[in-house]
């Protein structure tokens, strides 16, 4: 292993480089490196700005900042409607008026949306942007007043920015405004001399076999920190023989498994699939009833702990589906976070339950075949992930021919997505990890 990335970042901050892009696989310590890189800058009293994509991400960074730099203030710039979480440390100063931000030696943090709309009289020495692959180039351009130097850190395999409008006009643009900011920066030849590129090469979060599974979503290699057999979920109560229990039994030896549910003669529901929501809830119920033990790192391998609801996370691509799952969950499980892959980015749980993004999708569109969501879903767990889906997905992928309707000169993202989805499914099929 070479020099730690945060050291290179400290050096970058101290010099005058324009931009540094850090490519990071899931759970490779993005936030850790981002925060570590600030050490010298804080000591030297530089003005530092940090932008994240969501309020949750900002809150998480604030907490971790306070743990890393005890006693150091961080100014959380937010809208008046924002109310900070109850566990916000006292060193986090929530401000809504930009004039309240000190002029020297300050660390200021906010969402891209909030910072982009604010005009700052004094620029910052450097702007660090977390989860930068989630940010459009158009959004990045609203942050130019904040600083003229940037560190962008993020995961290139994950979800591209959500775009709700017709962007035909810019499909062939060399700096397409709807594409992820780091992609625009890395592809622009004029910027190449001024851009430093760094990679994080160790995935700390995921079990060994998951790292090899998700490698298909990335164009650079990375290694697991975990050792084989180190992370697992083990039920201590007997199986009742149902498919749900079989899936739970399989995650003792394999960190991912797919549990299928019959599609039925009439196909899957057009909208919210309540049966699948019930299956997800049933998995939660059985994981807790069977008093599973979990190991999430080397220290727990021989001393596993008992699974608690807070250790479980659930992810599905649609808000309405998430609400249906939340309503189906057994009582006493309010600590279980249920949300979209977009909101899961940057977060982790020992066990994840994921609704496969193609479940119920008989004719996948470009949106459906985009694999960023699948990649996020398959990379939030420390010990195991159970995918739940209608059983048509394998056949749908076999029979569906993706349309290469991208603009001339653009890569075939949909075809690549189809291939990655197929590889993901085949991985489980070949290892007998699809439970019916």
């Amino acid at each position: 292993m070479g020099r730690p990335v945060f050291e290179s970042l400290r050096e970058f901050i101290a010099t005058e480089g324009l931009c540094c892009v850090v490519k990071a696989p899931p759970g490779s310590g993005k936030s850790y490196n981002l925060l570590e890189s600030l050490e010298d800058a804080i000591t030297e009293g530089r003005r530092i700005a940090i932008a994240a994509q969501t309020n949750n991400q900002v809150d998480d960074l604030c907490k971790r900042f306070c743990e890393r730099y005890p006693g150091q203030l961080i100014f959380r710039f937010s809208s008046k409607a924002f109310s900070p979480p109850n566990d916000t440390p006292p060193e986090v100063i929530v401000i809504t008026d930009k004039d309240e931000i000190p002029s020297e030696g300050v660390v200021m943090i906010g969402t891209v949306a909030k910072l982009g709309l604010t005009s700052f009289a004094q620029s910052y020495d450097v702007l660090l942007i977390d989860e930068a692959w989630q940010m459009t180039w158009a959004d990045f351009l609203t942050l130019r007043d904040l600083s003229s130097r940037f560190i962008l850190i993020g995961d290139p395999g994950q979800i591209p920015p959500t775009v709700t409008i017709n962007v035909d006009r810019w499909e062939v643009s060399p700096d397409a405004p709807h594409t992820p900011t780091p992609d625009v920066i890395l592809e622009n030849p004029d910027l190449a001399p001024d851009v430093t590129v760094l990679n994080l090469e160790i995935c700390r979060r995921l079990p060994v076999d998951t790292v090899s599974l998700i490698q298909t979503f990335y164009d650079f290699n990375f290694e697991p920190l975990a050792k084989p057999g180190e992370r697992y979920v083990r039920a201590t109560k007997k199986s009742d023989g149902t498919a749900v229990d079989q899936a739970i039994d399989r995650i003792e030896t394999s960190s991912t498994v797919i549990l299928t549910h019959p599609t039925g003669n009439d196909g899957a529901p057009i909208e919210t699939d309540r049966e699948i929501a019930e299956v997800a809830a049933k998995i939660v119920q059985r994981l807790l009833q069977r008093e599973c033990l979990i190991s999430t790192d080397a220290n727990e391998q021989n001393k596993p702990r008992k699974l608690q609801p807070v250790d479980i996370g659930i992810v599905s691509t649609h808000n309405q589906m998430n609400t249906a799952i939340q309503n189906a969950l057994p009582s006493g499980t309010s600590d279980i976070r249920v949300t979209t892959p977009e909101r899961w980015q940057g977060l982790e749980r020992p066990i994840m339950i994921a609704i496969h993004p193609l479940s119920g999708v008989m004719y996948p569109s470009s949106f459906d075949l985009e694999t960023g969501r699948l990649c996020v879903m398959a990379s939030r767990h420390q010990s195991a992930c159970i995918f739940v889906t209608r059983d048509h997905v394998g056949e749908t992928l076999d029979t569906h021919i993706p349309v290469a309707d991208q603009a001339l000169g653009r890569s075939d993202v949909v075809g690549r997505g189809h291939q990655q989805h197929t590889e993901f499914w085949r991985y489980h099929l070949e290892r007998n990890l699809i439970i019916k």
Partner: protein
Amino acid sequence: MSESLETIRRLRAWSEGKPTPRGEKVNVHVGDDDDILIVAFLRMGGESRPWGVAFGKPEEKPKILTVAEGRNRSRVGDMMVEFAPVILEHFRHPQHSVEDLSNWESNSHRQVWLPGPTHVEMLHYIALSFARTRWDRDGVETLKALGNLANCLYIEQQRPGQQTVLTAASALRETHVFPASSVRQAHLGYLLGWLQGGRNRETRLAAARAAENISVATVLDPDFERKKIQPLVEEWGRANQDDDEKGRAAAEASVKRSLSPELLRRWELTRDSITHLRSDKRSSNPGLATLVSFSKKEFNRGWGEKALNENEGGDAFWPNPFTDFNTRMAAGGFHQRVADEQKARHYLVHGDRELQREELADGHGIIGTVISVSSGDPEWKIKFSYPELPTTRQGSYLVIAGAPEVRLTVTKIDLQNRVLIAVPQWRNAKRKYGKLGLPSQDQAWKGRALVFLDDQPFGLADRLAGIARRRSDDPNEITNIMRTRQRKHAANDDEGAVVPESEE
């Protein structure tokens, strides 16, 4: 659009045996005869340039232009030089109209109506061919003006909520529910067959099915083109090779005779759609006037100002037909389009309960009863009954349907008990909304069942557009380091579009 809601609507239309009105309001602006130019195109199969064009105002007999050989750049250019002044005059181009383009605010709003999406694509082709041409020929300035207008119209038609470039097929779909699959509803003739094909389901369906067998796109029925017209085109080619002027003229006339009914049918279907929409007894959505006003403003900004600048000898800064190569302009345009999409929803949804149903079915709002109104700090407790699964989250904003400025912030949502806590963002009465604009602490709110919709924060996106476009004087600023690169393409070459087989 909610798929299940649309399925129910279509089943209802099928049960009634005819297309049913989509909602209580019309959300499409249909201008007066003077303000509408109907245009329909034809092109040869496999080609992109126009082979013929029909154009005229709804009350007029359309003018039809064709060329014998649609692949002949020169002949197509001649045809477009003849067509150009009409559409340029329609949009009050300073070189072609006596009306003053600078009076855009008081001028009436001009529209171009086309049969369907393939005809819109022809605007893009015209833009690519002529907007930047350096062709050395008579009328090249007219062609360039046509190319730039076509380009601006093509860009404008992508803007959500615009009322300048309309296609008859989508206007009919936006105003009616047809008992047919989405694919079939792409055909204008099919839609009009359902609307005007008799008095019962059987006759309407038969009329629609008969109509859909005849092409309304920019291409002809391949069999018809191959068997009937290709021989005439070949005849013209032979005459041309022999430099036989009489033979050329005869073939030209024969092609025109064959193409004219095709062009006329496409043009008349569009006119009939306009007539049908005008006879609709429903009133227009009150928000439509605002969208028309935005359309005037945006088309003036996108085209009118540039045409005037060019006329006065300044630099027009015409948009590139391919894309925005300037990175700041592209980013600004992106944010602007987000704002336009939000504006279109905002201005229409409050005046149309059908659109409100759409929003609610998608979870973007609730139907709820105000169960308590605190007398201290303003806070409402709302028990909601629909939808079962709203997407509303803590921190999001809701507005009362019909009163877009009556806004609340959601501070808590309890999905189990279907209760939502929200803080009103107004205090005093908003009288223009009547009973929907009472002071926020008025106890009369208590017990009232209301529709709350997700707010559309278009003001923020508008501001982002301006910020993204802003130029910096610092040469080391990131966007100043990025040079604008235009891709190499025939449309940017001196010779205009690639025409390997042209006589030039």
